[in-house]
Amino acid sequence: MTFTEEELRLLALLADLLSRLDPVPPSVVVAAAVLRPKKP
């Protein structure tokens, strides 16, 4: 999917705002990171 520079700037502003309003709790990231994929 391609975007114009203006659209990407708008989406970046939106991502910045949304991530600050609704950040992923650090505990969620940590819990996910300690999982390990099974060896093939």
Binding site: L11, L17, D22, V24, S27, V29, A33, L35, R36, K38
Partner: protein
């Protein structure tokens, strides 16, 4: 996805713990956003994210197209979120999720004029537009097919809906900027 992210997927698939942590760091915001866009509260969204990564840990070594991990994660997150929603536990009213916070730490974020303008314009969009733009904001690299699977739109409708939602967001931003002048 880029070549470097493909390398990360392949390294994680081979058991590289650092690569796995990089994938989690990179894609958890997208998975979180997918769960929240389906109106799960924080605790249920955390469950959905956790379930998604558990599924990923189980299936990554055997994924047929690991280069499409972002799409696989968003689809899985959506399925996990819907399963939790259908289960009905801790489901919250729409207004509780959508309300602009007026007090507490989040209100500090809204002090900047730009943030207020964007939030107000975004909040006025339809739920469909909020879900679509909220996902694209975090994962603009997704293909039309991937977005289609993630948000449940016909693939042929993604481009048109994306354009309409962006136009609507711009229009509402301009109107609010004009009001301020």
């Amino acid at each position: 996805m880029t070549t470097s992210s493909d390398d990360t997927v392949w390294r994680a698939r081979a058991g590289d713990e650092n690569a796995w942590q990089e994938l989690v760091r990179r894609y958890t915001p997208v998975v979180w956003k997918t769960a929240r866009s389906l109106r799960l509260d924080g605790a249920d969204a955390a469950d959905a994210v956790q379930n998604t990564w558990v599924a990923c840990a189980e299936h990554l070594p055997t994924l047929r197209r690991p280069e499409r991990l972002a799409a696989w994660l968003t689809t899985t997150a959506r399925r996990e979120s819907l399963r939790i929603l259908l289960r009905g536990r801790r489901e919250v009213p729409v207004a509780e999720v959508d309300d602009v916070p007026g007090t507490g730490p989040e209100s500090q974020v809204l002090r900047a004029d730009r943030d207020r303008l964007i939030w107000a314009a975004f909040d006025e969009l339809s739920p469909r537009c909020r879900q679509l733009l909220g996902l694209l904001a975090f994962a603009p690299e997704l293909t039309y097919a991937q977005v289609s699977r993630a948000v449940g739109l016909q693939e042929s409708s993604v481009g048109r809906t994306r354009g309409r939602c962006l136009d609507e967001l711009r229009r509402r931003l301009r109107a609010r900027e004009d009001d301020q002048e």
